[in-house]
């Protein structure tokens, strides 16, 4: 069981905001922190890892206090057993793939090293340096290195956000496999819905420094699933005037969809807006794509 009770004054885009959260995570649970960028998600991970100090509160991991403001306990990052996968992977350029992973081990364990290299499919490239690797390969090295420490918590800071769609899907499976195989407790920061649905047991929505909703992904995100409406959320990429109507291009999960809007409707829209595309009257087709 991991208990987080954290308060910290953040300065985001020159605005002061208090981060104030109280979360309990069960052992072997996979949870996701969801929220806008700048909401303090990464800061929460860094507070758990001991890289950033909270103003108030406590962090209790499996009965052991890692941080407690009142009792003046603050373990340094070295004493906290976390595996941290950074957004930029933070691989050591001077070490090979194998050396990077070994660096995370407290004692050298050849069997465990081999297991990690195999499960992350890195065995054939174990002697290469990080600069020679693709994004997906780097990501797997970062993951293997974080797991090599046999962490109490695995912290993933948008680990797949820099990768393209196909590799992302493949690595989501890998994440799930590794989480299960090594009995990990995992905290993921993400705003990719498919990732959240596929991986997490619970999701916490962070808004204005507070957790506003939490629960199973389908309960949190699909509130109107019984109404029979089809709804997608996406982002406007472009608005083009065409005679009396406007054609709006919307990016939805890697696909661009063109939607017709009246000029009146288009007035309130601009490029970069987050929008919901819904269909009421028609039942949509479902076609299987392989």
């Amino acid at each position: 069981m991991i208990e987080l009770n954290l308060k910290k004054l953040l300065n985001i885009e020159n605005k002061d905001q208090t981060l104030d959260i109280d979360i309990k995570i069960k052992t072997r649970e996979f949870i996701t922190l969801f929220g806008k960028s700048g909401a303090g998600k990464t800061t929460i991970l860094k507070m758990i890892a001991g890289l950033v100090q909270p103003d108030e509160g406590f962090i209790k991991v499996n009965g052991q206090l890692w941080f407690d403001k009142e009792k003046n306990i603050n373990l340094p990052p070295q004493k906290r057993k976390v595996g941290f996968v950074f957004q930029d992977y933070a691989l050591f350029p001077n070490m090979t793939v194998e050396q990077n992973i070994k660096f995370g081990m407290e004692k050298e364990d050849k069997n465990f090293l081999k297991e990690l290299l195999e499960i992350t499919e890195l065995y054939d490239i174990k002697d290469r340096k990080p600069v020679t690797l693709s994004g997906g390969q780097r990501q797997r090295v970062a993951l293997a290195r974080a797991v090599a420490r046999k962490p109490d918590i695995l912290l993933l800071d948008e680990p797949l956000s820099a990768l393209d769609f196909e590799i992302r899907q493949k690595l989501q499976e890998k994440l799930k496999e590794i989480h299960n195989r090594f009995d990990l407790t995992t905290v993921l920061v993400s705003h990719d819905f498919s990732e959240i649905f596929k991986l997490s047991n619970r999701v916490f929505v962070l808004e204005n420094g507070k957790i506003t909703r939490s629960g199973k992904p389908e309960d949190v995100f699909v509130q109107e699933r019984l109404s029979g409406k089809v709804k997608f959320s996406g982002e406007i990429l472009g608005i083009k005037k065409d005679d009396v109507v406007c054609i709006v291009s919307v990016l939805i999960g890697g696909n661009i969809i063109k939607v017709i809007a009246t000029q009146e409707e288009a007035k309130s829209l601009s490029v970069g807006d987050k929008v919901v595309i819904a269909s009421k009257a028609f039942n949509p087709f479902i076609l299987k794509i392989d």
Partner: protein, 225 residues
């Protein structure tokens, strides 16, 4: 080539080697502190480190004489241990270290600052201490900066004149380095001998820099692969 000539050249390079080695030992912790610390009086220390860049060497030499000379408090104190820093080789080393300090510290400091913070944080979360992180993660990734610091400090020590003249004088085999020798030979109108010194210094510094740039390019190439 006579004996005097060789002694002077050897002394010059001995001074440069020892100075560079000491600077490396002092420079790494100092640059580390300047790069990562949020100490309030950091600008004060940064200023002191950079002073030799703009200060005339004679000023540095003058204060050195005043504060470390045999009549000064520190000078008297050191004399009890048999250490004399004025007109000795040891004095030259101390003076050169102070004078070339920014040439070692600045490249190292910008090297430290160029290391992504996440690399250091990753090392900490993997259970490695600050020292281990420095030795295994930070230093291996700033090799070009270390090399630049070494070369600049070395070359600058060979080329110094004012500080050496002020605190070392020109005692053959003790404090008479090549730059001083050239000056004295020219004053005595021995242009041939001055020319010999000058040519040797020119060739050797050229070769050192050439080796460094070749090696540096190789390091960068390997890392770019």
């Amino acid at each position: 080539m006579d004996n005097d000539f060789l002694t002077t050249l050897l002394l010059t390079f001995k001074l440069a080697f020892i100075t560079t080695f000491i600077l490396l030992l002092i420079g790494i912790p100092l640059a580390y502190f300047l790069a990562y610390s949020r100490f309030r009086f950091k600008p004060f220390i940064e200023t002191i480190v950079s002073m030799p860049l703009v200060l005339p060497p004679t000023v540095l030499g003058f204060y050195f004489l005043v504060f470390l000379g045999t009549e000064s408090m520190i000078g008297k104190f050191l004399e009890q241990f048999g250490i004399k820093l004025v007109f000795t080789f040891e004095g030259l080393v101390v003076g050169s270290v102070l004078y070339s300090l920014p040439f070692m510290v600045h490249p190292l400091q910008s090297g430290f600052q160029s290391v992504p913070k996440s690399l250091i944080e990753a090392s900490y979360t993997l259970g490695k201490s600050k020292l281990e992180t420095l030795m295994k993660v930070i230093l291996p990734n700033i090799k070009p900066s270390i090399l630049t610091g070494i070369v600049l400090a070395f070359a600058h020590t060979i080329g110094e004149f004012g500080v050496v003249l002020m605190i070392g004088g020109s005692i053959p085999g003790e404090t008479r380095v090549a730059s001083i020798a050239i000056y004295e030979e020219v004053e005595a109108l021995n242009y041939d001998k001055a020319g010999d010194y000058a040519l040797i210094l020119l060739i050797i510094t050229f070769l050192i820099l050439l080796v460094v740039y070749t090696v540096n390019k190789k390091i960068l190439k390997i890392e770019d692969l």
